[in-house]
């Protein structure tokens, strides 16, 4: 009751005076080995490219110019918008969005189903969803590649039971990449939605049904708006890593399914690389992610009021 004003960090637990020293290691490690590197990369993106990989310390916007503007093959034509990289970004966003939608379509009913089990069984269901999340992402992607191959178990199986008469060519296509992203991040969708549904007050559904709403109307009008923060969190957790994904496009997609991750990766490989350009692409990706996160923070802020 009267404890409200001193709910956190009262005198007697005595941690208040130690808060800053206790926080120091985190600041040192993440600050030095992540914050500084990311800032440094931002700096590199406005420097001049060195031909052996690396940079020359001279200010230049060449990297951003290369990303957005083209002046023809020999650089003597009037500047026009360069579509190559924007198209790669667009495709990445599209792939990530499709994967997110797919995750939501499968993930929401699953999360709902689990959250409505008895408390004793719930833990076991959550455990089942968690196991794949703990399995190495590379191994999971390789497994999927193995399964989806032209002569893989999926095609062999479908051929054997006569559903198809020629192997489905899935591998090295956009579909394979979408499936890969979907498969990689599906648990990320289920868990936050599950947490939201578990807290959902089912008396709200009862009230809606009592007031003549059908089950699906109740779901649309009552449940979805109430558990929306969980859904938004799940979508972010799938969309953001999908956007910068490297393994799924690299192992499941072909040359045509180039995504942002591969584009960045390439700029830092060997002497063919272009560090400022890679830095610029990374910065543009970061701004995109930041926009999504800001949008979520705003949405969450609105939801709380």
């Amino acid at each position: 009751m009267a404890a409200a004003p001193h709910a956190s960090g009262s005198l007697a637990t005595g941690w208040r005076s130690l808060a800053v020293p206790l926080m120091l290691p985190t600041w040192l490690v993440i600050g030095t080995f992540l914050l500084v590197p990311v800032v440094l990369m931002g700096v590199y993106s406005v420097l001049t490219k060195d031909f052996r990989g690396g940079v020359v310390w001279e200010f230049s916007l060449a990297a951003y110019d290369q990303f957005f503007v083209t002046r023809g093959l020999f650089g003597d034509e009037p500047p026009q918008i360069e579509w190559t990289y924007i198209a790669i970004f667009w495709r990445s966003i599209w792939q990530a969005a499709l994967a997110t939608l797919l995750c939501l379509l499968i993930g929401f009913p699953t999360a709902w189903f689990i959250a409505t089990r008895s408390p004793r069984h719930r833990a076991l269901w959550v455990f089942l969803i968690t196991v794949p999340y703990w399995v190495n992402l590379l191994i999971r992607t390789v497994s999927l590649r193995f399964l989806l191959r032209d002569q893989g178990p999926l095609n062999e199986g479908l051929l054997a039971i006569g559903v198809i008469d020629a192997p489905l060519r899935i591998i090295n296509t956009d579909v394979a990449v979408q499936l890969g992203l979907f498969y990689s991040y599906l648990p990320f969708m289920v868990l936050p939605i599950y947490a939201a549904v578990e807290r959902y007050n089912f008396a709200l559904s009862e009230a809606a049904r009592d007031l003549y709403a059908g089950p699906w109307t109740t779901l649309r009008e009552i449940v979805l708006p109430v558990v929306k923060p969980g859904i938004v969190a799940g979508c972010i957790l799938v969309f953001v890593p999908s956007l910068g994904a490297f393994l799924a496009p690299d192992l499941l997609g072909g040359a045509k399914t180039y995504m942002i991750g591969s584009l960045i990766d390439e700029q830092f490989r060997g002497s063919m690389g272009n560090w400022p350009f890679g830095g610029a692409v990374a910065m543009i990706l970061m701004s995109l992610v930041l926009l999504v996160l800001l949008w979520q923070a705003r949405a969450a802020g609105r939801g709380r009021r």
């Binding site: 009751m1 009267a2 404890a3 004003p5 001193h6 009262s10 005198l11 007697a12 005595g14």
Partner: protein
């Protein structure tokens, strides 16, 4: 009378909010002392400053003459029974009870013996090897008591320890707590918002509101002679009526009740003639047989079993409640009827504000 705790002009501020506004109290040795007040009145904060969980912004707290305001909680020979008990969930009942002794460096054998003795005291000897989560609420309550008593503190602080229990258990624990205090001879400082609890157990009560002590006294004084409107209102049910004080002399005051009837009653210190209020307990009013002190119109009669409650209104609209014993002799007035009420001698208590 030896002083156990002396609280001298204690102020506690959280930023701009003043939780304690210069509280002074003297609690006697071997006393069952209660801090009573509504939530947010500062009673828990005051208890926590005695325990050492909060530092004071200004003022002094003395324990048997020694200023302890600057000591951390582990250096103060006082122990606390927490509201939600705060029993260590990973330790058995015995280890919980023995924890304070262990911290004081008491040898294991003696620790075990004392823990057993304490569990005996609270009738929980058979539960020593259980974990707190395996006990009922009432049993956890007793373990919390045993744990706080085991190091033989000079003062025991109890922060609404009964609030988590159901009504029956709460009433049983009241008696048990009082007995425990008498057998151990330890000074108890008890915090509660439940006035009935406070009246039933305490030697003395400090009524708090808004970060200040409103009145200190034994239960009877607090109930029958409240000094101000807050205390009168907070403790039990009462009628507060506007009156005119015509004259004050020799500790007596002559007052005019609404409706014009004149009474003489005890004055309070610092009272000047003029407009004031009196408090009259509903059970100190009765239906007038002859000359009535007050006249009211009955609105509703509520049947309460042992009692009857008469809800009525004076001519000026002031509501007045009367409690009548449920007796066959009573001729009950009907709603809408005009009744005369008699104020028992000395029952009209003048209030300071």
């Amino acid at each position: 009378m030896r002083q156990a705790i002396g609280i001298d002009r204690v102020v506690k501020r959280y930023g701009a909010f003043e939780a304690l506004k210069g509280v002074s109290l003297s609690i006697a040795d071997n006393e069952f002392f209660t801090l009573l007040g509504p939530s947010g009145c500062g009673k828990t904060t005051l208890l926590r400053t005695i325990a050492g969980f909060e530092d004071v912004t200004a003022g002094e707290i003395a324990l048997y003459g020694e200023n302890i305001a600057a000591l951390p909680p582990e250096k103060r020979p006082v122990n606390t029974v927490f509201q939600q008990y705060a029993l260590f969930p990973h330790m058995t009942v015995r280890d919980n009870v023995g924890f304070g002794l262990r911290m004081q460096g008491v040898a294991p054998a003696e620790r075990r013996a004392r823990a057993a003795e304490m569990l005996e005291l609270v009738h929980l000897s058979d539960f020593a090897d259980r974990l707190p989560t395996q006990l009922s609420g009432g049993q956890q309550q007793r373990v919390a008591l045993a744990r706080a008593l085991a190091p033989r503190p000079r003062v025991l602080l109890l922060d609404e320890p009964l609030s988590a229990l159901d009504l029956k258990l709460r009433q049983a624990m009241r008696v048990e707590l009082k007995q425990l205090q008498e057998t151990t001879g330890i000074t108890f400082v008890f915090v509660t918002h439940d006035q009935e609890e406070a009246l039933a157990m305490s030697d003395r009560i400090a009524v708090m509101s808004n970060g200040q002590v409103q009145q200190v006294g034994d239960p009877r004084t607090i109930y029958e002679a409240p000094v101000n409107r807050f205390v009168a209102d907070f403790i039990g049910e009462t009628n507060v009526l506007p009156v005119m004080v015509d004259a004050v002399a020799d500790g007596r005051a002559r007052i005019t009740l609404p409706g014009g009837h004149v009474l003489t009653t005890d004055a309070v210190e610092g009272l000047a003639p003029g407009a004031h209020h009196v408090s009259i307990r509903p059970e100190r009013l009765s239906l007038a047989t002859a000359d009535a002190d007050l006249t009211a119109r009955v609105e509703r009669v509520i049947y309460l079993g042992t009692d009857l409650q008469l809800l009525a209104r004076l001519a000026d609209g002031t509501p007045i409640i009367t409690r009548l014993q449920n007796s066959s002799r009573n001729e009950l007035p009907a709603a809408g009827a005009e009744v005369g009420l008699t104020v028992e001698a000395g029952a009209a208590r003048l209030l300071l504000d």
